[in-house]
């Protein structure tokens, strides 16, 4: 397990270093993910230890968002009068953009599989 954790943290560190050097707005962990993906492509797949730790972490991905989500219930008073606008943007905005992207994905991949490309 320890080896797996070390590999993941090492790639995160590489990612953080890379974005700091490039002054990129992309977060370090995302850059680390791309670097690990590159390393896996070169090496030909993850070791058993990295695979196990990764599966364990990904299984609880949504838990790691929880403390930030609780923050929505503790906003400053100045924001609270905009609650209806915020909720409408989250619910209606997400609904229409999901419909749009689903429709787009269906159209574009349909074309692709019928062999027009």
């Amino acid at each position: 397990m320890l080896k797996g954790i070390i590999v993941l943290l090492f790639f995160q560190l590489c990612g953080e270093t890379l974005v700091a050097l490039l002054h990129s707005p992309i977060p370090g962990p995302v850059a680390g993910m791309l670097l690990l993906w590159l390393a896996l492509a070169i090496k030909g797949g993850p070791s058993k230890e990295v695979d196990e730790v990764s599966q364990g972490l990904i299984q609880y991905l949504s838990l790691f968002f929880l403390p930030a989500g609780v923050g929505l219930f503790f906003l400053p008073d100045s924001i609270q009068r905009y609650w209806p606008a915020v909720i409408a943007a989250m619910v209606a905005g997400t609904f229409v953009s999901m419909l749009f992207s689903g429709w787009l994905m269906k159209r574009l991949s349909g074309k692709n599989s019928s062999g027009s490309a």
Partner: protein, 241 residues
Amino acid sequence: MHDLIQHLLDFGNSLIHKPLFGLLLTLVVFQASLWFYNACGRRAFVHPVAVSSVTIAALLKFGDIPYREYVQANNLIYFLLGPTTVALAIPLYREFHHIRRLALPVLLTVLLGGIFAAASAVGIAWMMGANEQVLLSLAPKSVTTPIAIGIANNIGALTTLTTGVVVFTGVIGVLLSPVVFYLLQLHDPRAQGVVLGLNAHGVGTARSFELSATNGAFATLAMGLNGAFTALTLPYIVPLF
């Protein structure tokens, strides 16, 4: 006897302000919500993040614990988001043969869908009279939390509002996904993954992995691409308005 009760009350009161309490609160409530989620057949509307965040917020208010104290106690959980993001490279690598075949549709959907997600949120809030700070905080709503916080800082949005909105957008996206898939008759796990990862970032990606490995890999890809694209463009678009 009275002294003893007072002593116990004081001890209990100091205990709930210790970091251990905040961390344990998160884990216990989430585990209970997971049981509940599984007992309900993993229906989207009892999503564990939705159920646990409402429960934790109510308990914090009841126990008179400041949110800042709770967040500090949960730094460890927040930290794990980093290595977990790195770990997503593995499903991405495994499903790459699927992804390559659909590279162009995925890329186009993420580009146009990402713009649409930000524009629709800001547009709706603007029509309902939100101020500039709220509008700015809503713009990165479909991007995964660590990226959204970076963007929020760059464009001068309120970080606490952005993170809360981002997480709840993820939860709402998961709640709405069965309806969206039904309305569009969208059964292809690859397309479902793209819709969840693009609109509901990490929370949607977690849901995708429950549906299938391919679904999860496409969600990871859409989430990563959308995050990178939004992080690179939004700081330059905002000054135009």
